[in-house]
């Protein structure tokens, strides 16, 4: 294992670093792998270089100039990363879209960003581009890489990546050395990525990030947690999420570790297990998903296995708690811990794909302390990360051995974090972005004297750890005037495997209530075992037995809460919150203002005398179809 620290200078760009790393590793090292037809096909750094070079020249031959935008959409795959790197090498600016974006979001971003070239993956993305082409006059070319279903498309502006690369080869023959010249022309202060933040409240804003921003952020994170070129990383979260850019580009390129792309998004969990990454970064919902699957499998396990599991988790929690309190672990506990490790934890980590994990991060949203403790009890070095797109990813992270599950850690090098008088978290570092694209007003509000205003409330505790309370506008005031974070309560509720989503209400109200979304698979299995009949999610969610089940979960979460914060009433929603209905952001954060408006009847019902709410709404399916739903929801009260 070796880690060569790369100095980030003002004129270093991502393409320059890319070319340097390709020269260094060449044919001898695998840059990325993609699982295809059952095996992990390797691409060496030389393959990576060739693909990017000709793609980049091809884009230039299509008329890409410095500063032009190239939008990309699709699953994580080598071609996506090549397209991004090719655009950067030609001096272009990359714009990533979430794979499951609805048509109007795609249109808004393509149009607002003045995208010239659109790179899609399959027919699906090409269709999206074709549908909006007329409304986005600046869009000139649409590229694709998967020929499936593309036979009958004959528009002039449609090209496959292979064809673009062929054009690139022609251009290279005509003007040898052009690619190297283009790369040399870049400067660290040039914009490299235009990142649309999902925004819990308003239309997406495009954050402008420079090469220098991205590289310094990666450097500073690596200074905290070094990675090695022999490491493996699995890239499966959308590239449109800053966290994935930070791991795949900012850190990945500097270290030169191998990126692995799963076969399909659905197989990601299985593929992670095969690779066994050394480092991982995922939003809390993925860890929540893992915990849930473990809890469910535990329930379905045999007697012996359950006893072993219980023993090992008990020991694991004990040891983890001692470590959290920074107390020494007594010798007898060490022996028991070793026993727990060989009988259960080792195997469970293997199932979760965490066998080789040195550290893993969670960020992007709040993670419940129960989930956090769960992973530490398993011996997984899970750390919280805090940051924004506007600071190129992260500014704060836990240090190994100094993890507190209610904080997000301490600033990374070259980063200052302060709390304003109003309690807002502000930060300053070389990675702070240049501003929002075509939105000076928002830039002025967010960037003041080089300080980035986050819009989050928080404080710094006695150990210098930052505690993030919640988004300023989301902080609740309880009946006794105390401030309270609904997110905290929701994450606690979500520790139950039966609960998929929760929405806690209670700002300036007499008591706290909750709208719950059950997990269809888990509750469905539970109902099957109980021989309860149901045909659909809405029906299952309204069963009295399911209400009692959910009530039990809430009572569990209520236990260690102060009186006014305890949940008094709840209702089971007839559907799960979804980003397509705009109830969640694309990174799965609840859009409170929106749901409050949308489910006004429910909120009124929860704070009224009635115990049944009549609902009449429409839901949107992923393909854009809509369905009207008429249903009655029961409100259940909890005695506290």
């Amino acid at each position: 294992m070796s880690s060569t620290r790369i100095e980030i200078t003002k004129d270093l760009t991502i393409p320059k670093l890319f070319v340097r790393q390709c020269k260094k590793f060449g044919k001898n090292k695998v840059a990325m792998r993609e699982k295809e037809f059952g095996i992990w096909r390797p691409y060496t750094w030389q393959d990576y270089y060739d693909n990017v070079k000709y793609l980049s020249l091809g884009m230039v031959s299509l008329g890409l100039k410095r500063g032009d935008k190239v939008a990309m959409i699709g699953d994580n795959r080598p071609e996506g990363l090549w397209a991004e790197m090719a655009a950067l090498c030609a001096g272009g600016i990359g714009v990533w879209l979430f794979q499951d974006c609805m048509m109007d979001e795609v249109k808004y971003i393509i149009d607002h960003s003045d995208t010239k070239i659109f790179v899609g993956e399959t027919q699906e993305e090409v269709d999206k581009a074709l549908a909006i082409k007329d409304q986005c006059p600046k869009l000139e070319w649409v590229l694709w890489d998967d020929p499936k279903g593309m036979r009958n498309y004959d528009q002039d502006f449609l090209l496959s990546l292979k064809e673009v690369q062929a054009r690139g080869r022609e251009l290279d023959a005509k003007e040898p050395g052009l690619f190297e010249k283009m790369v040399e022309e870049g400067d660290g202060e040039d914009i490299c990525l235009l990142f649309y933040t999902s925004g819990t409240t308003a239309l997406p804003k495009g954050a402008l990030l420079t090469h220098y921003n991205m590289l310094t952020m990666g450097r500073n994170l690596l200074d905290v947690d070094p990675c090695y070129e022999t490491d493996d990383f699995v890239s499966y979260l959308p590239f449109a999420w800053i966290g994935e850019q930070m791991m795949s580009i900012s850190c990945g390129l500097q270290v030169g570790y191998t990126l692995n792309f799963p076969e399909e998004p659905d197989t990601a969990q299985e593929n992670i297990r095969e690779i066994g990454p050394h480092v991982m970064f995922a939003p809390p919902r993925l860890y929540e998903g893992m915990t849930r699957s473990v809890q469910v499998k535990y329930i379905d396990s045999t007697w012996t296995k359950r006893r072993v599991y219980e023993f090992a988790t008990k020991i694991g929690y004990k040891v983890a708690n001692l470590k959290f309190e920074k107390q020494p672990v007594p010798w007898y506990l060490k022996i028991l811990h070793w026993l727990a490790y060989i009988t259960m934890q080792k195997k469970l980590k293997d199932h979760l794909g965490m066998s080789r994990l040195r550290q893993c991060y969670t960020g992007g949203a709040a993670m419940g302390p129960d989930h956090f403790r769960f992973f530490h009890a398993l011996g997984v070095n899970l750390k919280q990360i805090y940051g924004q797109t506007e600071i190129a990813g992260i500014s704060i992270v836990h240090r190994s051995g100094d993890v507190k599950f209610d904080t997000v850690g301490t600033p990374i090098p070259q980063t200052e974090v302060k709390i304003t008088e109003e309690g807002e978290i502000i930060s300053r570092s070389p990675s702070v972005f240049k501003g929002y694209y075509k939105n000076d007003e928002a830039t002025r509000k967010t960037l003041v004297d080089g300080w980035l205003y986050s819009g989050d409330r928080g404080f710094i505790d006695e150990d210098g750890h930052l505690v993030v309370f919640d988004r300023s506008k989301d902080v609740m005031t309880l009946s006794d005037g105390r401030p309270f974070s609904p997110q905290y309560l929701e994450t606690r509720l979500k520790f139950s495997p039966f609960i998929q989503e929760a929405w806690v209400i209670g700002d300036k109200r007499e008591y706290v209530t909750a709208v719950m979304c059950i997990d269809y698979a888990v509750v469905g299995k539970w109902a099957d075992d109980k021989k309860l009949n149901y045909t659909s999610y809405p029906e299952l969610s309204q069963k009295p037995e399911v209400y009692d089940l959910v009530q039990k979960q809430i009572e569990e979460a209520n236990k260690d809460l102060p009186g006014p914060a305890k949940i008094r009433k709840f209702v089971n929603l007839y559907k799960v919150f979804d980003a397509d209905d705009e109830e969640l952001t694309r990174t799965s954060k609840l859009r409170r203002a929106f749901v409050e408006k949308r489910y006004k009847e429910i909120v009124d019902g929860l704070y009224g005398d009635t115990d049944v709410v009549h609902m009449d709404t429409t839901i949107t399916y992923e393909d854009g179809r809509e369905q009207r739903i008429k249903t009655d929801l029961r409100i259940q009260e909890i005695k506290v």
Partner: protein, 366 residues
């Protein structure tokens, strides 16, 4: 996808790796341990009796591997496998006894090894001959042609003609010292055991290698659906006959080995019941698995030995028991088959797979 349980962090970058032997460190360790048990621990530390039982297991497994290939992998049900073993045994014996070997081959001790190889080839050719109808017929009709192989070969040709060669009457016997491999004379239980272990190991390697190649995939395709296999471009007659040849070759070698064990030979060693027995072995062991053939052989031989051990003390009270032990054996065989078909139709190999899964999935059940 690799067929073995891969621990986290082990992955394949090419199909060669994906089909490799001993893919994980644990498997490597396990297999080396197994080889150590077979080649060192059993012959060095256990008694001659155990070794002779083990040789019997090996001999049964050699036959069962061929049957497994035909029934379990290619879907060609055969009930005449003993005939091909008999062909091998007679070929080998006659070559050793009657063939005018040049003196230097005799001196070098190569007569027996060569005769075993030739026995394999003869067994294979004989098997292909009776496999020819498989080009046209399937199922019950094919079973009948293989049964024909049994009766034509053993009851007619061998009994009536071949066993009279040399004017020795019904049985051949091989004088001591004629069975040797190079300077190594095979004259005790330990030597026979070693010979068995080497041959069986080689057979398993050959069969396992065939099964993970194009040939093996073609066989399995024919088993699963011969018409679909043909549309995929597989020459099914050719591959069926190849399966018959390989199974016959294994049978011939097994026959050649059998001679070393008994030093005597008679057509009674290869009754039709033995063909049936081998099918029973793979039913109990598990159809469509190399493990199955070996587990089944182990189970059947050991059960029969235990039966014998159990019957001997009872013989004082029921003297007839010993006399009718053969029928007792048949009863036990029938009972075992019935019990397996009812309670574990997938055989012992499936149980083995379940046992491995129990630990692979630890601490969960799926």
């Amino acid at each position: 996808m690799s067929s073995v349980w891969m621990p986290c962090g082990d992955y394949h970058q090419s199909y060669a790796e994906d089909h490799g032997w001993w893919q994980t460190r644990f498997i490597k360790f396990k297999m080396l341990l197994l080889l150590a048990v077979i080649f060192v621990i059993i012959p060095q530390f256990l008694s001659g009796y155990v070794m002779s039982v083990a040789s019997m297991v090996g001999y049964t497994a050699m036959g069962a591997l061929g049957v497994q290939l035909l029934i379990g992998y290619t879907g060609l049900v055969t009930l005449g496998h003993a005939a091909f073993i008999a062909v091998g045994a007679y070929t080998s014996t006659l070559l050793v006894l009657q063939f005018p070997w040049p003196q230097w081959i005799m001196d070098a001790g190569l007569a027996y090894p060569i005769s075993v190889l030739v026995a394999g080839v003869f067994g294979g050719i004989w098997s292909v001959l009776f496999g020819l109808p498989s080009a046209k017929v399937k199922g019950f009709y094919l079973i009948l042609t293989t049964m024909a192989a049994q009766f034509i070969t053993v009851d007619f040709i061998l009994t009536q003609y071949v066993s009279r060669i040399g004017g020795r009457g019904q049985a051949f016997s091989l004088p001591p010292g004629t069975i040797k491999v190079g300077p190594w004379v095979i004259d005790s239980e330990r030597e026979v055991y070693y010979l068995m272990a080497v041959i069986l190991t080689l057979m398993v390697i050959v069969l396992a290698n065939l099964l993970r190649s194009r040939v093996g995939r073609a066989w399995v395709a024919i088993r699963d659906n011969d018409i679909a296999a043909e549309t995929l471009g597989i020459n099914i007659v050719w591959y069926k006959l190849l399966a018959f040849f390989v199974a016959g070759f294994f049978a011939g070698v097994a026959g050649g080995f059998w001679v070393s064990n008994t030093a005597a030979l008679s057509p009674e060693h290869f009754p039709w019941f033995w063909s049936l027995w081998l099918v029973g072995v793979i039913l109990i062991g598990g159809v469509g698995s190399i493990h199955g053939a070996i587990f089944g052989s182990f189970f059947m031989v050991v059960i029969m030995e235990l039966l014998q051990v159990g019957v001997i003390p009872l013989a004082d009270y029921f003297p007839k028991l010993l006399m009718s032990f053969a029928s007792l054996k048949e009863m036990a065989f029938g009972l075992a088959i019935c019990a397996f078909l009812i309670y574990e139709p997938n055989g012992l190999a499936y149980r083995w797979w379940q046992a491995k899964n129990y630990f692979n999935l630890w601490p969960f059940s799926y």
